[in-house]
């Protein structure tokens, strides 16, 4: 290790950017804000690259020679040291966090660059970048965490940054509400994470991932039981952060934030923290088959459910939001069949192509002057050729067409599911249907936005500035070749962190057949979209008119928001308003406070008469006091009292 290379520098670089822009940003000139905002993530990315080079045996000069992963760095001062409880502030760099860091800082940096163009006219320019840097700080803390508590710090921190950025346009009520919704729904998940941590402490006495892993490896017979409960609690946390059923409702609303934020936080990095957390604690899930199957079912159900909603949405960003939820479902499905490295693989490729799609959507929205409705777009390919080209790449990648990145990772998950036995076949089938829907709604977006005739003739779109185009092109390149590393090599690299999944009944032959099936399904989705939106444009609307019931149901997102509103939010609000607000707050606490204050005021009103301002009354009290003191000293009370009590006793008749 070199003297200057420390893991802690990776999060500290964006944190410095946050401090500078957050405190001084309003007073600094714009070019300086931009410089600081870009150097911070670039420094973090550079450090990660240096670490990567060091890991692959290129330790020379200023590159540290990292002999072997995992590399642990612990703060010399104990963080929490209380009795048997000892928690350090520790960072761990292993294969898993290395991959995740590359994605987070790399994609993060590109989106920072894109934001320079996208947000250039915004009043809150410095505020925006300070929040974005803050997000990167917490995200790298989350990824580098060596124990669950440090991870929780990052976990809460990214939630905070997400809240701040969703509500970035806080003058708009819908944006402020969406921020609150995201925060509150995430709290439910965090509750699960917290309980899981307490159970870990109670059962293992430590929160360090490595120590927990060692204990479980030493006791291979320890299965289920409390481990299932811990795993399910952690799953609740992951479902909240990664927008899985039943806590996915915040993510579509989170699209109120600026589009680059949606790309970075709500597509590429933060929402994948749940997947990362499961991969990080995978050893717990490995010891609990039940929890693992719950993960798989939640993932598969979310993937299918969100995909169906995505089919009918009209807002370009909402289509992408539901597609994100659906793809996160895929990753959970991968985790659920114990193919953690496949899930991380999909996480990585998804980060590329979904960030690309969001940024391209941002470019479209930018060009259309803020218009997000797909029905008002169309024919944009002539006006926005670069955006059109990169979106095409993104759509092909997410649909899983060979040889784009999405194909490799999606295929790896589907293959892992298929080889998981009879139940795995069901999961595989659900995944396949989802792939069909994904392909369909992505090509629907593609056709509606870019092809056909322009539906808003009075808008004159123009291509975005260079700072927005360059990240798009780089991400497009990554979306094409991000998967070429192949699942085999990727899984082998990650194996020390996530373990190697032994396929039960796999073969190369089967893999090829499954791949061909997946691609065929994706092409089928394209074909259907082509039929609906190019050949006979009226057909979709006609189908919707023929089935008004089911169309309304899906269009309104299965009325889940309304259902939660009536079953959870309304009773809770009533409880808060009447029982807590009126009875406890107003009556008990307010009344109690009023009583105390009233007593004091009343006593004061009585006693203030003493303060008459009249010297003689003061003197009289003084004299009376002196007389009382004299009486107290002179009279022999020890004899007077018993005697007088005796007297009273006798008078009373004894």
């Amino acid at each position: 290790m070199n003297a200057y290379f420390h893991l802690r520098l990776i999060p500290l670089a964006p944190f410095a950017g946050f401090l500078i822009n957050g405190i001084l940003g309003r007073r600094l000139p714009k070019w300086l804000v931009t410089t600081v905002a870009l150097i911070a993530p670039l420094a973090a990315f550079g450090l990660v690259l240096i670490a990567v080079l060091g890991c692959f045996g290129m330790g020379k000069g200023f590159i540290p020679a990292i002999a072997s992963l995992p590399l642990t760095e612990t703060c010399p001062l104990a963080w929490i040291d209380s009795g048997a409880l000892h928690i350090d502030f520790s960072f761990v760099l292993d294969q898993l966090s290395l991959v995740m860091l590359l994605v987070v800082t790399g994609v993060g940096f590109l989106i920072h660059v894109y934001s320079v163009g996208y947000m250039s006219d915004d009043e809150g320019y410095a505020r925006y970048f300070s929040f974005l840097n803050l997000f990167l700080f917490f995200m790298t803390v989350l990824v580098l965490a060596g124990n669950a508590l440090v991870m929780f710090v990052g976990w809460e921190g990214v939630g905070l940054a997400s809240y701040l950025l969703i509500g970035f346009y806080f003058q708009k009520k819908s944006a402020a509400d969406a921020g609150k919704k995201a925060f509150i729904v995430n709290r439910i998940g965090d509750f699960g994470f917290l309980i899981g941590m307490f159970l870990l402490l109670a059962n293992f006495g430590t929160l360090t991932f490595a120590a927990i892993g060692e204990k479980l490896t030493a006791n291979p017979g320890w299965q289920g039981g409390v481990l299932t409960i811990i795993a399910l609690c952690l799953l609740l946390g992951a479902a909240g952060k990664s927008a899985q059923l039943p806590l996915y409702i915040w993510l579509p609303d989170a699209m109120e934030g600026p589009t680059p934020v949606s790309a970075l936080i709500h597509a590429a990095t933060m929402v994948t923290a749940g997947v990362y957390m499961i991969a990080r604690t995978h050893i717990l899930f490995d010891h609990s088959p039940f929890a693992l199957s719950v993960v798989a079912i939640v993932g598969a159900a979310t993937a299918l459910f969100a995909a169906t909603i995505g089919v009918v949405q009209h807002d370009i960003k909402r289509v992408l939001a539901y597609s994100t939820i659906s793809q996160l479902g895929y990753m959970f499905l991968g985790c659920g069949v114990a193919a953690y490295s496949a899930a991380i693989f999909h996480l990585m490729t998804h980060a590329f192509f979904k960030a690309l799609l969001f940024l391209a959507a941002g470019s479209v929205i930018h060009a259309m002057g803020g218009e997000q409705d797909l029905c008002k777009m169309g024919g944009l390919w002539k006006k926005l050729p670069v955006t059109f080209a990169v979106t095409t790449v993104g759509v092909l990648a997410i649909a899983g067409i060979f040889p784009f990145a999405g194909f490799f990772s999606k295929d790896a998950i589907l293959y892992a599911a298929y080889t998981q036995g009879a139940n795995g076949r069901v999961l595989w089938f659900v995944g396949l249907v989802t792939a069909l829907l994904t392909s369909f709604y992505m090509f629907r977006l593609w056709y509606k936005a870019f092809l056909g005739e322009s539906r808003s003739p009075d808008v004159h779109p123009h291509e975005s500035p260079l700072s927005m185009m360059v990240p798009l092109v780089i991400l497009a390149a990554l979306s094409i070749c991000g998967g070429w590393i192949g699942m085999g090599r990727f899984g082998a690299f990650l194996a020390p962190s996530t373990g190697l999944k032994a396929a039960e009944s796999g073969s190369a032959h089967l893999e090829v057949i499954l791949s061909i099936t997946a691609v065929a399904v994706a092409l089928l989705g394209w074909l259907v979209a082509d039929r609906f939106y190019r050949q006979r444009p009226g057909r979709a609307a006609q189908m919707a008119a023929n089935n008004p019931g089911s169309y309304e149901l899906v269009l309104n997102k299965y009325y889940v928001d309304e259902l939660y509103g009536y079953t959870v939010v309304k009773p809770l609000l009533g409880f808060s308003k009447y029982l807590l607000g009126w009875f406890v707050d107003t009556a008990l606490l307010g009344g109690g406070a009023w009583l105390l204050g009233g007593t004091a005021t009343f006593a004061g009103a009585l006693l203030q008469r003493w303060q008459s301002g009249n010297i003689r009354s003061y003197a009289a009290w003084l004299a009376a006091g002196a007389a009382a003191a004299l009486l107290f000293i002179v009279v022999p009370w020890s004899t007077v009292w018993p005697a007088s009590l005796n007297l009273i006793w006798k008078i009373a008749g004894h």
Binding site: S612, G613, R616
Partner: protein, 107 residues
């Protein structure tokens, strides 16, 4: 001749006189309206205390009590200077010396 004058005055008489003078001072302080009379009542109380000091000093042949009296006289002189200055200032400001009309400290 065992006359009244050849006998020593008993201790209690001095103390009684001191107490009577002190009480007169207190009563004067409480019931008199004129600020100067009130001030004189304070002096009376101080001197009543002085009397009891010298009484005990004589009785016990100790010099401490007499020293104390000098201190009290000295402080009383200083206090008289300050007090009279205040009285003059008050009279100039309010054109009255009635204590019950000097009540600016009232809430």
């Amino acid at each position: 001749m065992n006359s009244l004058f050849s006998q020593e005055v008993p201790l209690s008489w001095y103390l009684l006189l001191s107490a009577v003078l002190f009480s007169l001072g207190v009563i004067g302080f409480l019931i008199k309206r004129n600020l100067i009379t009130v001030f004189m009542s304070i002096e009376l109380m101080l001197n009543a205390v002085n009397l009891s000091f010298v009484t005990f000093a004589h009785e016990w042949h100790a010099v401490k009590g007499q020293i104390f009296v000098f201190f009290v006289m000295m402080v009383a002189a200083a206090e008289a200077a300050v007090g009279l200055a205040i009285i003059i200032a008050v009279f100039r400001a309010r054109a009255t010396l009635a204590v019950d009309r000097i009540d600016l400290m009232k809430l």
